[in-house]
């Protein structure tokens, strides 16, 4: 198993492996996305209080989950890169940052659109919104730091350290902001007793969450492949790959 993972860590192996993986991931993602959207927008009943406007939950909540999940992936891959100097882990880590930032932004925008009819304001300084905003800033910090350092291997190490510092801080930030001010509705899905959301609403939500996860996997693979080619542009396998492509086209 470890040997298998180790081989996967080599650049050409990863490249060909991801080439064969991508179509499957894309197909699964589209199916789940369509099922989740149909279930969420058509099948799920109208909420007795919020009417149809609650349906934005099918974008809002998975985005918010993904923004946190991707930060964890970014930090974990960063640790692997820092400790074992695996080039691929560094690339995965830094390729995750813009995707995570996009999800955080999406969660904020959909939250704002949802907040207008529900709370009567585009933006309130509510705890969860604020910590999501701070999460976005943490992402932007990582991206900015990576962009500012010329040598890309050093840059990804520095970004990984920053992501790690962020991981230690995220719970502290989250709970201090929570303690500071809260208006947001409590968690409705992850309570340990029966979730306070009806099954017909929950199933599409989970489908959407899965679809978002797959979308992230696709996006991170595409970004990582691109970054990998850029970094390995002087190596034999990359040159071979490019000549093959060119031959195939002509």
């Amino acid at each position: 198993m470890i040997r298998y993972l180790h081989q996967l860590g080599s650049a050409p192996r990863f490249y060909s492996f991801s080439t064969s993986l991508l179509p499957w991931l894309s197909a699964a993602c589209i199916v789940l996305l369509l099922a989740g959207l149909y279930g969420g927008l058509v099948m799920a009943p109208t909420d007795y209080q919020q009417g149809d406007s609650y349906r934005i939950i099918y974008i809002h909540v998975p985005s918010a989950w993904m923004s946190l999940f991707i930060y964890m992936v970014m930090a974990a891959a960063g640790v692997v890169g820092l400790v074992w100097h695996i080039k691929l882990a560094e690339i995965i880590s830094i390729s995750s940052a813009p995707i995570g930032a996009a999800f955080a932004f999406l969660a904020l925008v959909t939250g704002s659109l949802w907040g207008k009819p529900m709370w009567g304001a585009w933006w309130v300084w509510d705890a969860r919104l604020t910590s999501e905003l701070l999460l976005l800033f943490l992402y932007l910090g990582v991206i900015a730091l990576y962009g500012a350092i010329e040598d890309k291997r050093n840059a990804s190490r520095a970004a990984a350290i920053l992501a790690l510092v962020g991981v230690v801080n995220i719970p502290i930030i989250h709970y201090s902001v929570e303690w500071w001010n809260t208006l947001h509705q409590g968690p409705t899905v992850t309570k340990f007793d029966a979730p306070s959301i009806h099954v017909s609403m929950l199933v599409p939500l989970l489908l959407m969450a899965l679809a978002f996860k797959l979308y992230y996997a696709i996006a991170v693979l595409l970004r990582a492949r691109c970054e990998l080619l850029v970094r390995e542009r002087n190596s034999a396998w990359a040159a071979e790959l490019v000549t093959e492509r060119v031959k195939g086209k002509s």
Partner: protein, 227 residues
Amino acid sequence: MNQTSLSNAFYQLFRRDLLLAFRHRAEAANPPLFFVLVITLFALGLGAESQLLKSMAPGVIWVAALLAAVLSLDSIFRSDFEDGSLEQFLITEHPLAILVLSKVAAHWLITGVPLLLVAPLLGVLLGLPSGAMATLMITLALGTPVLSLIGAIAVALTVGLRRGGVILSLLVLPLYVPVLIFATSAVETSTAGIPVVGQLSMLAAFLAGAITLAPPAVAAALRVSMN
């Protein structure tokens, strides 16, 4: 090669930084001056209504302290980076994290403590009740070292960059949020005469956490930056 003990190295580095700061006395006046100026600008921008100023005082003073701390951060490693002594710290036989702690302590003494000293003056300017003044001092005493310690990580990451200034504040300000929240809440509650032990304990916990966790992170970041 004569060996120095770790505690001696810590002390010598600390002394050297204080001495350097003493030779550049004029620079040490800048952070507190900036602190006072920001408060003055707030008063001018918000109007002279004393009730409004009083209610905003804790937040305004703390935000100004935060900004002053961020502006002074860059000097922790800048001159050492430029004259090459930072590389010497990296190759000594002493653990880098301890040396970093010594440098941050000296930096706090030079830039953090002056903020502490001018804070009562600013409290008076904004009409903070005298009961809250002691709390303000305690929160600054507990909070500014945390700012220096967390800031040192970001400085270590950006020290090799020519224009690190804006990035530095982007990296560091989100991490300062918990300190800001608990400190301002402590000052606000003590204005109402309610005990604030809870908030102060949280700040003390942040300080303990930062002293233990930040120096290794700074050391790792320095090794990446000097690579």
